[in-house]
Symmetry: D4
Subunit: 250 residues, 8 copies
Amino acid sequence: MNKHRLKMILEQVQDGHLDVNDACRMFETLPFEDLGFAKLDTHRAVRDNFPEVVFCEGKTVEQIVTIFQRLYLENDLVIGTRVESKVYAAVREQIPEIQYQEPAGVLYARRTPAVPFGAATVISAGTADLPVAEEAAVCLEIMGVKVGRVYDVGVAGIHRLLNEVQTINQSQVVIVVAGMEGALASVVGGLTKRPVIAVPTSVGYGASFNGLAALLTMLNSCAGGVGVVNIDNGYGAAALAVAILRTFNG
Amino acid sequence: MNKHRLKMILEQVQDGHLDVNDACRMFETLPFEDLGFAKLDTHRAVRDNFPEVVFCEGKTVEQIVTIFQRLYLENDLVIGTRVESKVYAAVREQIPEIQYQEPAGVLYARRTPAVPFGAATVISAGTADLPVAEEAAVCLEIMGVKVGRVYDVGVAGIHRLLNEVQTINQSQVVIVVAGMEGALASVVGGLTKRPVIAVPTSVGYGASFNGLAALLTMLNSCAGGVGVVNIDNGYGAAALAVAILRTFNG
Amino acid sequence: MNKHRLKMILEQVQDGHLDVNDACRMFETLPFEDLGFAKLDTHRAVRDNFPEVVFCEGKTVEQIVTIFQRLYLENDLVIGTRVESKVYAAVREQIPEIQYQEPAGVLYARRTPAVPFGAATVISAGTADLPVAEEAAVCLEIMGVKVGRVYDVGVAGIHRLLNEVQTINQSQVVIVVAGMEGALASVVGGLTKRPVIAVPTSVGYGASFNGLAALLTMLNSCAGGVGVVNIDNGYGAAALAVAILRTFNG
Amino acid sequence: MNKHRLKMILEQVQDGHLDVNDACRMFETLPFEDLGFAKLDTHRAVRDNFPEVVFCEGKTVEQIVTIFQRLYLENDLVIGTRVESKVYAAVREQIPEIQYQEPAGVLYARRTPAVPFGAATVISAGTADLPVAEEAAVCLEIMGVKVGRVYDVGVAGIHRLLNEVQTINQSQVVIVVAGMEGALASVVGGLTKRPVIAVPTSVGYGASFNGLAALLTMLNSCAGGVGVVNIDNGYGAAALAVAILRTFNG
Amino acid sequence: MNKHRLKMILEQVQDGHLDVNDACRMFETLPFEDLGFAKLDTHRAVRDNFPEVVFCEGKTVEQIVTIFQRLYLENDLVIGTRVESKVYAAVREQIPEIQYQEPAGVLYARRTPAVPFGAATVISAGTADLPVAEEAAVCLEIMGVKVGRVYDVGVAGIHRLLNEVQTINQSQVVIVVAGMEGALASVVGGLTKRPVIAVPTSVGYGASFNGLAALLTMLNSCAGGVGVVNIDNGYGAAALAVAILRTFNG
Amino acid sequence: MNKHRLKMILEQVQDGHLDVNDACRMFETLPFEDLGFAKLDTHRAVRDNFPEVVFCEGKTVEQIVTIFQRLYLENDLVIGTRVESKVYAAVREQIPEIQYQEPAGVLYARRTPAVPFGAATVISAGTADLPVAEEAAVCLEIMGVKVGRVYDVGVAGIHRLLNEVQTINQSQVVIVVAGMEGALASVVGGLTKRPVIAVPTSVGYGASFNGLAALLTMLNSCAGGVGVVNIDNGYGAAALAVAILRTFNG
Amino acid sequence: MNKHRLKMILEQVQDGHLDVNDACRMFETLPFEDLGFAKLDTHRAVRDNFPEVVFCEGKTVEQIVTIFQRLYLENDLVIGTRVESKVYAAVREQIPEIQYQEPAGVLYARRTPAVPFGAATVISAGTADLPVAEEAAVCLEIMGVKVGRVYDVGVAGIHRLLNEVQTINQSQVVIVVAGMEGALASVVGGLTKRPVIAVPTSVGYGASFNGLAALLTMLNSCAGGVGVVNIDNGYGAAALAVAILRTFNG
Amino acid sequence: MNKHRLKMILEQVQDGHLDVNDACRMFETLPFEDLGFAKLDTHRAVRDNFPEVVFCEGKTVEQIVTIFQRLYLENDLVIGTRVESKVYAAVREQIPEIQYQEPAGVLYARRTPAVPFGAATVISAGTADLPVAEEAAVCLEIMGVKVGRVYDVGVAGIHRLLNEVQTINQSQVVIVVAGMEGALASVVGGLTKRPVIAVPTSVGYGASFNGLAALLTMLNSCAGGVGVVNIDNGYGAAALAVAILRTFNG
């Protein structure tokens, strides 16, 4: 059927009954050949907001070096998350311009500078949540987003957070990173009209069940405008923030 | 000591200063003999801070009427929790002085007025948490505790709570009742030095898992001074509050 | 201390040593008196993107009628979710202009028309997910967002979804509603650069555990740019979408 | 009773009233003596489709060497799964013809070549799922099944999978290996009429709960024709595939 | 790019440099235009082994009647599962040839008789598992599969099962339906070389957790060749069995 | 009764037939007066069926040596469970007669030989369950129970178990040790009238969830006469078996 | 093979080389023909300690009447559990000698009186646990076991339990029935040397999770000699108790 | 608006229409400027009952040394929990007066002695619960609370606990620390009128699920007056106890 229709169109082109441009437009209206589809075939960087990001936890130093070399051949920007500091030296021998952000555990190399766009605030509850918060913040900055950091403003001392409300509201997207009971997302959600991306962390012990408590808290947030990503997924929060910011910042 | 007292009694019997029957009765008031133990045998009202409290959910109207009649014969104060309004009329026919607090679902009768002692604040997050909050508040009031109510101060609108901090700190014990994500307990715990009793409620849906989310939140509270009772257990919070207040208010 | 500082400033104003405008600026730099804070005191509609939304499940017809009457006195727009059709007639007797969207279960009344802004697509997997999808769609439309609906495009017949990629990419925010295994969120996340708000539904049986399976699927999405809200929380997805759209369509 | 009946038959044989062959047939119709039962007593290789497969995780190098030696004395084919590379050298000293497939972690020795039968496709979502996918693929190949590999076709880039539909449909059984959200099984199930064996993997973090998320996703698959095996159980998928293929490929 | 290539091909056709048939073949080698893809566009009955099956639980009598009427206009075979007996009469008024299998809760109508193919055995543990077992059996029979039923052979009386081993092995696929502890799947898996499809049921109480215990049992089966479907999903087992049988029985 | 005895003693004191000091001593031998109570005050070996058993997992070699020395001073029999082999040498330097059973991980020393009583069978499913099975078996033997071992009779090869039914029925108590899906307990429960003590083990992976699957299976056993102990708790099974055997074997 | 051996034996009998009795004995030593096996073929009452017990929850009055009539034709004793009182009247019309124990919900009929044997104590924590405790007690009494009841001795008032220790120790088996936190099993286990069968009940609310809390408590009991059955499974406890008592009381 | 009102007040002060003291009072009645709020700005030691307590688990020796040095510059009292012994030496080199309590794992330094107030009893079930019990006890003692220790009184030997009832009742707050089944909290709650703070520990194995069993037990306690803190959270129990004791002991 589809094949039949295809042949008919081609024969009309051959016979001169159909203009090439009109034929093109017809193909676009055929299922799977439309513009939305064309994107499927192009490279990931076109379809996604982020380049390929390598999740390095559980990979050996050698594996990471190899992956980075190969990816950097084909791309202008390569990013790795959950990278330990010892990996940095090894990769640098191969890619001298590689950069490493320690608390974030983010390793990246780039050939072209980022084009600035958008503004986000990353808020974290406790000092132990810092690596996840920084993973989000650094990934955003690599992509060109201006990041405001509001750290160590856990709800047990809520006045520290209240002092930062104005700062928070001046950004376009807010990322809240919290472990233990994760109540910070609800409180921030109640203080701002901005979209809030909540990242539960595995910080805590006992009945925190490795982040489950914070995850459930955030999903049940009584404040509106809160979306949740996976436990400890700082990069995932950045990816959602970039999706939001890219849509509106051109 | 105990041994000493035993010997004294026996010597009085030996000397004929004490009748065997009187000695028997004395032993009966000792039972399990030492002071720590004596309490075990006396009635519940002596050992516990609360009289027998009837959990009425799942009992028929007839069963509740019968239990109240029997208990009120033996006690000056009878309390029932989770009582539906239709039970009230039925019990009143038998016990005219019975009283019913509707949102709390608490039914009680008393012969002697409560002796006032202590002050507590009951804080609730949303209107749907009201029945549990009132169960706690009414149970406290029946026991003689002065109760301040700070309702509908969920963390999504935290300014409402902040306005009440002074009131909260003027009481001796704070009960926080919250469903959904239960973040209120942490926020209150961060605002007061008073002991906080947290009651998760089953209010919510989806990933609240009937109160599990609020329960975990409260157990993982990043604020100090928070103890947690069972889901929807307003009476349990009151019982702990009374235990605290009785210890120090004579 | 704070009080002391306050008095000092006031005395300087009284003495003419301090200009009123300078004093204002000083208050702004004091904690809690800044602009961000001022918002805390204003009404919900100023701080939030949505007006007060009444969650009607579990409330009686009488209760809902009363709440709607009271809220509509004070607000220009009142919205109720999870409303059964029988409630509609009862509320209409009091508020003739009340409107009801049946599959969505949304009841609302308004005095001023919505100001159009933004465009969202709501995608749902199966017909049983419709009520949740419609709750999201109708809430968006009430707020003034243009909504495209792409329904019944479950991953078991993925070609139906592929035909809609272009439509999806023309909106600014995408909401994906799916129960059972909830795989649709990942697939959509892989097909678009737009921010994706995933709503797991309780549709399913057995090991769907009332939406837990879909929830976990969405949280673990291998595609970037996906944020998750609570199970069956169509309104929550709309609230997050409005937060995103308001930020940029200001 | 049974004993009584037994004696009766034997006496009839003794008396010549019953032929030995007829008596045999009678025994076969007695419970437990039928052909189905006979199999119970024969060796595993007759009853099962697979030879004894040694699960090596948690065993020492010495233990594995010993087990392989003993089993290879009695069998023509010995297979071990979850074998680390260091074990290979140690076993090879004892069994020179031993073979090792590294990414799969499968160690095996055979005396007779496999008889080819059947065709399966093994599909995996991400590179981290490779060891499990290869465990399935290598186990199938050892048994004589022709295996097509379609790797790294996660649903976040669904066009890669769509390109392989024809290949998939040319095999007789499809194994889908996926961690994180495990959505691939549903998508493949919707693209093929072939039986799909889904293997959730423990790949992921946070709310993947070591494979639970993928497991639930696969059990709730909205696509028909999907059966699920245990988390990371590549061999189990191969065993089910062989059971299917053996039934029909003689 | 894709568009560019398209235009180039069309211009070559227009210019006569490219034959229509050669152009067709080129399109086929373009992604998404191959035969595998063509299937995506055809109707469900071509791609799936089963026709549309209506899950009737939770739908009103009126809704089911409407759905059956519409589907039966477009299809020769319509099937509904989880149908209560009262629905049967209502549908029969509209579709006189409708048939209903009571313990299975399966309602169906057909215009053309089923073409027989394949043989399956359905085994169930207890009488309470019967509805699920019958849902599987009846769905198979409607599709044309010959079904052997081995019911009430729970492992607590394993001799009953042992008597049926021969029968079981004469079929091509085995479905095992069991609730409570679900041990039957492992036992059957150990007795047969046939592929075993395990269906946990929600039969049980207490720590059966609505089928979770049986589900976990089956997933951890120590016997090889077992694939598991969702709790109570008799139809799902039939769908997988049909996928297997169709692949090999033409 | 108790009262009666009290009165008798008091009357004897009154009459001068009983010295006050002797009466005191009599009261002391009563404590909590009746015989059942007296046991409370005596040593553990009197009240319990087992001597103090040291759970050694997580303790250092030094700690275990110290504990064994102290306990062996006061007791004739000392037992430790979950003991690694390296501990054996260290303890033997202090207690030369110490004995160690390796697969069981049980370390013990005794001064008086066990008095034989009772007979138990320990059945295990797979070789990986051996340590737990042996912990149960060795603990029983140390106490004097005759133990029959029926190992490696998993339900995947049920004929091996069927061959042992007679042996099993000749003992007085049966312990079934199984991991993975734990189906063996149900099968054994269906084959014997003896009390069955089921021990789930943490053997397995993935959805065995460290023994949870086997635990649930055993709790939901469709066979009667099965009691369950904690996961991997071989000693606990032995303790229950000894409680049963002691009651009846005097 | 087996068949071959069978034939050989039969031929030897035919030839007179083998005595019928010797042949019988040989068959007994063949796998599956031994005495243990013979039992498999006999009726349930021979193999099990209990007759068929009908679990009536979820069955209609008509179904129960029919099942009781059929079973009572073939057996001398029929028992049903979880029977509502309305069923009693209906069954009595068919079986006049039927008896019903209300709090237990046990319905039974018998032709021959029970032969007394053994003694058990049933202990329950709260009044709400009574139905489960009575199910256990009545089932035991029907089988002929002498039952002591020690009810309402929850650990919150432990002195009530301490008074009953002597009574408890005079029985041979102890059943402990408790909901909420289920701590009673540990306390009883610490007070007696008798085997303790623990029955968690679903009594409680909130974090009792329908009996899960009590179940886990009992499985983790720090006291030895405790075996656990399923939640609310009073009959199961009785079945285990009877298995123990039968073994030793002939 | 708020700004406007602020300006108005200041202008009235400037104009002399408003007294400075009256203005101060007006500010106090403005939201957030009241006394309750002032506290928000003061240091943690004013608002909290405890100084900053450092959770040291997971921190390196270097990090802990640095944190202690910095905190001890600003505070008179610094406390660390979950500290390993090797950290002690390192910190002592910098802070010679540092003290370390080994079983508790608590490290602290102070310049001013604690002011004694209040009395608490810490009760623990088993020796393995000691570290958590000591964490609670030592933290209390550092704050100035008199601590009575009642250790190793698990419910399996309840007489040991009964002997200590008098001691327990002489304190003002009771902390109960128990792992495994955690039944001790209920038993203590039934023996005393004092407030009971229950600390579940992760001591146990198998179905203790790292403290979940004990946690659920304590939350479901049938005894009144029990509040629960997180698993292993000895410090949290101390914090709640101090909150209670501070409220009443000035």
